[in-house]
Amino acid sequence: MSFMTVLSILCLLGGFFFFFTATIGLLRFPDFFTRLHATGKGDTLAVFLSLLGLAFYEGISLTGLKILIIAIFMFIAQPTATHAISRAGMRSGVKPWMKENIES
């Protein structure tokens, strides 16, 4: 159980935890925009940590570097995709959920 594998196990567990909270957020949050918060942020960090874990397991090699490239690509692409979807939602008239209209 060298240091690298312990590190990779930790990263994978961390990644899985954030995946879990993102999915719970996706299910529990009341409206479209709040769900986007969960998936946008949760998945970005979760993918980054999981791929980091896999890269550590691969060790310092070309494949490890390629896994890091995918992680960086997802790091850039995921918020942009979330932004694009929320923009489409806003422009085509999805009303964000307001706290008051629940009580009233």
Binding site: F17, F18, T21, A22, I24, G25, R28, F29, P30, D31, F33, T34, L36, H37, A38, G40, K41, G42, T44, L45, L62, L65, K66, I69, I76, P79, T80, T82, H83, S86, R87, M90, R91, P96, W97, M98, K99
Partner: protein, 237 residues
Amino acid sequence: MEVTLLIQATDDAFQVMEKAKMQAVGILDTATRLTSETRTIQERKLKAIFKGAHESQSGFLNFVATFAILIIFWAVLSGKFDAFHMTLGILCSLVIAWLSHDLLFANVRIGDIRVIVQRFLIYIPWHLYQIFLSNFHVAYLALSPRMPIQPEIIRFKTKLESDISWVAFANSITLTPGTVTVDIEGNEFVVHALSKKVADDLNAGEMEDRIAHIFMEADHIYIQDVLDVSRIFSALK
């Protein structure tokens, strides 16, 4: 009799002088107009040359920079470093760099890239910390039974100019706790925030200054930046 003659003579003399003065003024005007025109033409030509030089120089520099980055990307992608595949890689990178040479660094001044990259690397740890915070915030919200959120939409004027800083700022907003960039109209960011506290953090503009610091926006120059930049430029010279 002589007096009237004298007066007439002086009148004529005055008129001649008047006419001469008018002509002199006319000549002077045309002279100044000519010189100013030539100067503006000169300036415009010089500017065109500079811009052209900068354009072509930055065009060529763009091409070389894109080519270098693509070669590194190719080398990492294909693990084979034997002659055949490397020549293939160089050929492909040349084609792609030529095809999209103006795409990667469309309007970034070449001299500043080194400074921007340096500052971006310093910005990354703070950014990662923010992302961890935001995820714990989302985790707390998702797992807590009563979900204390008051979502609202904020319109937020920004001081940044270049579109790359806008993009970096928008992505950073999406990744920091509680806020997602929904839209940009003119230079106004429409942001969906989860709670009042988060909205105030955004309006405090602490992150905006950091982004401005990275992309060296004009109105955020500090003394440190000038020292920073001069050291770089001396190295560049």
